[in-house]
């Protein structure tokens, strides 16, 4: 049961965090200057966007859940299972970021989920 909750946190909080970070970085705008000083100047601009804090908090939750699961499960099982985030990500892209998720994209998401099922079935 604990493992199931941790997997849900990895997928749900991880994808939610990525969506929030994506929204924050779109607010900041395209980064064109990669010199270290320019990247350092970018940090306060990024930190002023509230979405980044929500994103980092959710991604940190997913990260510590990942650490806990990795203490008992093989990394070659845990990481592919997190591919379920593609399904959650497609839904988040559609409803949170306003992206158009086409039939082809849903087909790809289905293939990913089928692959995840095979990974779980082929556990040993």
């Amino acid at each position: 049961m604990l493992a199931l909750i941790l997997y849900l946190l990895i997928i749900g909080a991880g994808t939610g965090g990525e969506l929030c970070v994506a929204r924050a970085m779109k607010t900041v705008g395209e980064v064109k200057d990669f010199r270290p000083a320019a990247l350092l100047r970018l940090v306060p601009r990024v930190l002023r966007v509230p979405w980044i804090w929500a994103g980092v908090t959710l991604m940190a939750t997913a990260f510590f859940s990942l650490l806990a699961v990795l203490s008992t499960e093989n990394v070659s099982l845990v990481v592919p299972v997190t591919a379920l985030s593609y399904g959650v990500g497609a839904l988040g892209g559609k409803f949170f970021l306003g992206e158009q998720v086409s039939a082809r994209r849903w087909a790809g998401v289905f293939l990913v989920c089928a692959g995840v099922t095979l990974v779980i079935v082929g556990r040993r």
């Binding site: 970070v21 010199r35 650490l67 593609y86």
Partner: protein
């Protein structure tokens, strides 16, 4: 008549690479450092999990030991590199374009787990990894941007 060149914009453009080059470069960094970080974390956590596997209290007891493990810190460093590359690429590319670009990471993490951690990866699981990569590639062939630029 000579063209008037805005020095400020010239100095701003000089270090900027082409959009495709910088996108591929950052996605390559993501594909290398993401799986490497996961494998290092997996190795570090396995080294200290024998006495505390499966219980909530045992999981909490792990925290101080986690913070003193070099392997864990290397894994965290790799994942931080991945995260910085990820944030930078998201500043211009679609989330639905960047997310599928991590497809190679699933194959790479299986390879690293097999060759570095000596984990047993069954043929069924390899097929699953290949199907995941195929699905992610199908997603990747959809238009990278479906929303207006903000």
């Amino acid at each position: 008549m000579p063209k008037i060149v805005d020095r400020r914009s010239l100095s701003h453009m000089k270090p900027a690479a082409s959009p495709h080059f910088k996108t591929y470069l950052l996605i390559c960094l993501m594909v290398i450092f993401g799986p490497l970080g996961n494998v290092l974390l997996g190795k570090g956590m396995k080294q200290m999990s024998a006495s505390s596997a499966g219980t909530t209290a045992g999981t909490l007891d792990l925290i101080p030991r986690v913070l003193t493990s070099g392997t864990i810190w290397l894994g965290i460093g790799s994942l931080l590199t991945f995260f910085v590359a990820y944030m930078l690429v998201l500043s211009w590319a679609d989330y639905s374009y960047v997310q599928p670009a991590s497809a190679a990471a699933y194959g790479m993490v299986a390879l690293l787990a097999h060759f570095i951690l000596r984990e047993v990866v069954t043929p069924t699981r390899w097929m699953g990894v290949m199907l995941i990569c195929l699905g992610v590639l199908v997603v990747g062939y959809t238009p990278p941007r479906t929303t207006d630029r903000r």
